[in-house]
């Protein structure tokens, strides 16, 4: 469960990237976070995985107050959150298999377990046949699916995706969201930042709309935009 209590984030004086947001996201929800560029979507997501700290307010993830979470214990939070970046953040000198395996390798998992879980994740995104390729040898859509596989491989409770369809055409974007739906079916909370209104129409899920750092609407799942 993710809870925001009067959260503010300020990078420069008199300008809030996030302004007085209070909300609650239940376990297993599928949420779109939308708004124009600069509305505060990325900052909102960064606050959840503590890449940024709020200037004011409290954020609780599964009852853990992020303000009180020590840096040396940050890894415990991050192991429960899978992150998908718009620019994929794949290591170019490692194969797709090795990229997906990273979250398990850093946990010091056994090779046999890593192999099983990586193959499962790659199967879910339909990329087992590309596992020995380098990221530069596959398409943008496939790279995005690799990033999704890396996010889900460690069985996180929450998946955060920042504009995961930003560089993809409509058909590929729909495919990517369908993958997220399949993951969500396993009870994993999904939070996707997007400015693609077509996706919001096609997938009637809860939508949080931000504008100038403020939460201007919270459309429940199944509602119209």
């Amino acid at each position: 469960m993710i809870e925001f209590y009067h959260v503010f984030k300020q990078y420069v004086k008199n300008q809030y990237a996030i302004s007085d947001i209070s909300l609650s996201i239940e376990k297993g929800e599928f949420i779109f976070l939308t708004g124009a560029s600069g509305a505060g979507k990325s900052t909102f997501l960064k606050l959840i995985y503590k890449d940024e700290l709020p200037s004011k307010g409290q954020i609780l993830i599964d009852s853990t107050n992020l303000n009180l979470l020590q840096d040396k214990k940050l890894y415990q939070l991050r192991r429960n959150i899978g992150i998908v970046f718009q620019d994929f953040k794949l290591l170019t000198n490692r194969t797709i298999y090795e990229n997906v395996a990273i979250p398990l390798v850093v946990r010091n998992e056994k090779k046999s377990i890593i192999n099983k879980m990586v193959i499962n994740a790659l199967t879910l995104v339909g990329l087992t046949h590309r596992r020995n390729y380098l990221p530069s040898h596959v398409s943008g859509g496939e790279q995005q699916r690799v990033a999704i596989a890396r996010a889900i491989v460690g069985n996180p409770k929450i998946i955060i995706a920042d504009e995961p369809t930003g560089n993809l055409d409509t058909e590929l974007s729909i495919n990517i969201i369908k993958i997220f739906e399949r993951i969500n079916a396993n009870g994993i909370t999904i939070l996707i930042a997007t400015h693609d209104n077509n996706l919001l129409k096609l997938f009637p899920r809860r939508v949080l709309r931000l504008d100038k750092g403020m939460l201007i609407s919270d459309r429940p799942s199944g509602g119209s935009s």
Partner: protein, 296 residues
């Protein structure tokens, strides 16, 4: 354990990924440690050479003519009880004359012209090796001031000079070693810094997927240790070959140094020192580097 193996594997991979910079720095570290090793070897030899010279420091005190033997005996007791003194030998006028005649029998006719022995009575003091220096100096001055003492003859001056040279060489050794250690530390510190920047993206991804701080830090520390360790191994090998080959191919130069440097003995302590030093430099410099450049 598996974390350490993973860290070592990652470090070796990282060294090979950044081949040019890592092998270049390895070469420089080996070179600086080699200079340190050579200097250490030379100063060890010079130290044992100077030690030989500074042993058996003697002082001879000559007494005035007809000095009361009671006073001399008192002085001998005082000297014998002093902690600096190894032994004291008294030589009467006649003993001195006998000794002289034994050494220079051809001068017997000159001595025959004297009614009494022309040699003064004296005491010969041999000092203990470990007390050479200021303490002995002041002790000698103290005796010299006594009214019964006419003059003195000391071989301490030479021993002191040799000692000063030895101290100077030790000082240069420490100074040079300090510089070389600093250079090696600086190199490893910066190589680790470059490696951190080179792997910045990887580090940020590792952090985002839940790697602990130590999981990220340990490979860099291991990298530093490996650079220091292999640098010192190379330095030791080169030093060993230099010391083995030098006496064969550099005869003329070696002849000059032969008296001072003993090429037959290569103490293993030098290599142990080098490896320990190299590894420690690697450990500390990489630790400081990650402390400075691997913050959140």
């Amino acid at each position: 354990m598996s974390l350490i193996i993973a860290a070592i594997t990652n470090s070796i991979k990282s060294i090979f990924r950044n081949k040019v910079i890592n092998f270049l720095s390895l070469g420089i570290i080996a070179f600086t440690l080699l200079i340190f090793g050579i200097f250490n070897y030379i100063s060890l030899n010079i130290e044992s050479f100077t030690n030989k010279f500074s042993r058996n420091v003697e002082a001879i005190f000559y007494f005035h003519e007809n000095t009361d033997r009671v006073l001399i005996n008192k002085l001998i007791t005082k000297v014998e009880n002093n902690i600096l003194v190894k032994n004291v030998v008294y030589k009467s006028e006649n003993q001195s004359e006998t000794n002289f005649l034994m050494e220079f029998p051809e001068l017997k006719h000159i001595l025959a012209e004297f009614k009494e022995s022309p040699f003064p009575s004296s005491i010969e003091i041999v000092f203990k090796d470990e007390y050479i220096g200021t303490k002995v100096n002041s002790f000698i001055s103290e005796i010299e001031k006594l009214s019964i003492v006419e003059s003195k003859q000391v071989n301490l001056d030479w021993a002191e000079k040799v000692n000063k040279i030895s101290r100077f060489i030790s000082f240069i050794g420490i100074f040079l070693s300090g510089i070389l250690i600093f250079i090696s530390t600086f190199i490893i510190f910066n190589v680790i810094k470059i490696n951190i920047y080179y792997r910045k993206e990887e580090i940020s991804i590792f952090k985002l997927v839940g790697a602990t701080d130590w999981y990220i830090r340990i490979p860099f520390i291991v990298e530093g240790v490996l650079l220091g360790f292999f640098g010192s191994i190379f330095a030791s090998l080169i030093l060993f070959f230099i010391l083995k080959i030098a006496p064969v191919y550099g005869k003329s130069i070696i002849e000059l140094a032969k008296g001072v440097i003993n090429f037959d003995i290569i103490p293993s302590s030098i290599f142990i020192k080098l490896i320990l030093l190299g590894t420690s430099i690697g450990l500390f410099s990489s630790f400081f580097s990650i402390k400075k450049f691997l913050q959140k």
